[in-house]
């Protein structure tokens, strides 16, 4: 068994990348605060951060709560089912929690409003939109970028009263983030002979093992996770962590630049959001400017339709233009539409059938109950006669 990763072995990847290359990463933001889109090659992820005032956990009365939810949307892959927790989603959720919550990169104490009573719960929803491998890295970039982009409303507490200010009243406040951990994935092939950074979906399908290292730009490892059942040597892990440190500092720089650009654009009052980031130079994309709708004939058309319908076109519908009067056979019970205008001449039978059913009502008199069984027989006869009528109508 070959245990050393030999850099001399020339590896050609399906998409033409070198062993340690990441695919193209694009980070963009939505119109809301805390909304971030990440494209990692063809893999696409969206993260949205939201907040809510809740009661804190009893064990930590003066700390805010961080909640992560990775949604494996069926849009991302036909293998994902809606609304079902799969093994993969549990694994990704756990890893994201380890990467962003357990690393204490966010100051949760600053999220406390009234100790033991009200704290902010920060919820991060990560939607996977297209699955082309390495979901974890894309999700971790999206989540931490969205958290850094997010602004929560300002609050003040006087006595028991808690006031939440709208963005117009007071500028919303960013979260206090100490460092930005980013996950870097390595896939191993042939018991560790080959190593690839940022595996795509096809590579993930045939890999033997996966190593995920979450690291910040100070080269501190926040979480390390190996799965797939391969044994790795100390040297291999060390080598991976070295590669990770390079990748993390590159990605960190990209995120800071994207955040800065967005901040500048927002300050200048430029239009931002998903709609503004639509690619222009593609034949599959098209934009149309604001258009006026021609209204000249609208009023007339509407009037015409109403007038036309006011005159009943068929004589059969004419009798439905006046309301029928209801009958109240017993207090608390009323009926309308008893054999109304029945062209079948079955008024009486229908009448009886309905009274028979009406006996389920509690207020009906005793007498009715006694007659019930006989009525039941009647009902059967009605349906019989109906069938006969059918034959007469369409011989």
């Amino acid at each position: 068994m070959q245990i050393e990763i030999s850099p001399n072995v020339f590896v050609q990847r399906l998409d033409g990348r070198q062993t340690y290359d990441y695919r193209r990463i694009k980070v963009s933001f939505g119109a809301d605060y805390g909304c971030c889109f990440v494209e990692l090659g063809e893999t696409r992820v969206m993260a949205q951060v939201s907040c809510e005032l809740v009661a804190p956990k009893e064990s930590r009365p003066n700390e805010g709560i961080l909640f992560f939810n990775i949604e494996l949307s069926p849009m991302a892959s036909p293998a994902f089912e809606a609304g079902r927790q799969s093994e993969l989603s549990v694994k990704l959720n756990r890893q994201l929690e380890r990467c962003l919550r357990n690393s204490k990169c966010i100051d949760t104490e600053s999220l406390c409003v009234v100790s033991g009573e009200k704290v902010w719960q920060i919820r991060v929803d990560v939607h996977l939109l297209n699955h082309d491998g390495n979901l974890m890295d894309a999700a971790s970039i999206a989540a931490i970028t969205a958290l850094s982009h997010f602004r929560r409303p300002d609050v003040s507490s006087v006595g028991e009263e808690i006031t939440v200010f709208s963005p117009e009243e007071r500028d919303p406040i960013p979260l206090c983030i100490y460092h930005m951990p980013i996950s870097v994935s390595f896939s191993f092939f042939q018991q560790g002979t080959y190593l690839l950074v940022d595996p795509c979906e096809r590579e993930e399908r045939v890999m033997d093992g996966l190593l995920m290292i979450a690291m910040n730009k100070h080269r501190e490892i926040c979480s390390i996770q190996s799965s797939g059942g391969i044994m790795l040597l100390k040297e291999q892990v060390m080598r991976c962590s070295k590669i990770a440190s390079v990748k993390v500092s590159e990605i960190n720089e990209l995120i800071s630049k994207a955040l800065e650009n967005d901040k500048r654009a927002r300050k200048a009052g430029e239009r931002c959001g998903y709609a503004a980031s639509l690619p222009r130079g593609r034949i599959t994309a098209l934009k149309m400017d604001e258009t006026l709708v021609d209204m000249t004939t609208v009023m007339d058309t509407a009037k015409e339709i109403i007038q036309e319908a006011a005159v009943p076109s068929e004589p059969s519908s004419a009798k439905h233009t006046r309301a029928a009067s209801p009958v109240v056979p017993a207090p608390g019970v009323g009926q309308v539409g008893l054999g109304l205008e029945n062209s079948w001449g079955l008024e009486e039978d229908v009448d009886e059938e309905d009274e028979g059913k009406g006996e389920e009502e509690p207020q009906m008199e005793e007498q009715h109950h006694e007659r019930k069984p006989r009525r039941g027989v009647d009902v059967v006869e009605i349906s019989d006669s109906e069938e006969e009528e059918v034959v007469i109508l369409h011989p």
Binding site: I305, G334, L338, E341, S343, E361, Q363, V390, V391
Partner: protein, 276 residues
């Protein structure tokens, strides 16, 4: 022979009837099934009603509970409708969590309560920011034979009109809510919306109050909700065959007549309950 024809080609069977402007159950195209209303059927609920439209049977019970108002609307109570389609009412509903028809109908009723403002939610507030009433309106289908929405709306409205809320105050000494079950007062029901459902057969045949069979065979379903004074509070058509403005107007005209009919029925039954 007719029974055989019906089994072999149900749609064609219906088409033959509709061509003659009538339906297999003896109704003409724009005729509703007999509607029976019973108010106050459940004595343990704060308000209740039982409605039968043909075979379709809906029972509505209203339970009032005290709660704290939401932070967004401190001066308002709220109404929580829920439509349940248990396996009991038809073989096509399975036990378990509510399916799409039940959820869509619940949302329809919730939208209707909001759009028509049947009840001013301010009336349900006992003390601003502290205490309010929540009305849980449970609509249970006992027998499903089409046209669920019409029956649900009639049942809900009659039950709301029947509701008697006990008097509640926050005691000045203990700061706890005190309920006086003896003193009860009715709810102020301001509007009287009534739903009328229609089905389209093939291209353009319009029928009212469809049965389950008719609903399955039709190409589109429409529900129009009208109020007094010819106002509309919902025109719901979930999809299906497209329809012109003229056809829609026909539905609305029929719905306005139905609204008057049902309002009369509800008022008459209510007064009969009060006098007895």
């Amino acid at each position: 022979m007719a029974a055989g024809f019906k089994t072999a080609d149900l749609l064609e069977y219906y088409r033959r009837f509709l061509k003659e402007n009538c339906r297999p159950d003896g109704r003409v195209l724009l005729e509703f099934r007999p509607t029976t209303l019973n108010i106050g059927s459940i004595s343990t609920a704060d308000g209740s009603a039982l409605v039968k439209v043909g075979n379709t049977t809906i029972i509505c019970g209203i339970k009032a509970e005290l709660a704290t108002p939401t932070v967004e609307a401190p001066g308002k109570g709220y109404i929580v409708p829920n439509v349940d389609l248990p396996p009991l009412c038809s073989s096509r509903f399975r036990p378990g969590p509510p399916g799409e028809p039940a959820q869509a109908c619940s949302q329809f009723i919730a939208d209707l309560i909001e759009s028509s403002e049947i009840i001013q939610t301010d009336d349900l507030c006992v003390e601003r920011g502290k205490l309010c009433w929540v009305l849980y309106c449970d609509l249970m289908c006992l027998d499903y034979d089409g046209n669920l929405r019409d029956a649900c709306v009639i049942a809900l409205l009659a039950a709301l009109k029947n509701t008697q809320l006990p008097e509640a105050v926050i005691s000045t000494e203990t700061h706890l809510p005190v309920v006086d079950l003896e003193k009860r007062h009715g709810l102020k029901v301001c509007k009287h919306p009534v739903a009328s459902s229609f089905c389209i057969f093939d291209e353009s045949t319009l029928i009212v109050d469809p049965t389950d069979e008719e609903e399955n065979l039709s190409t589109a379903r429409i529900t129009v909700v009208t109020e007094e004074g010819d106002r509309l509070c919902a025109v719901h058509k979930p999809g299906g065959m497209s329809l012109s403005g003229q056809k829609l107007q026909e539905c609305i005209n029929r719905a306005t007549v139905r609204q008057k009919e049902i309002q009369k029925l509800t008022d008459k039954v209510l007064s009969s309950v009060k006098t007895s």
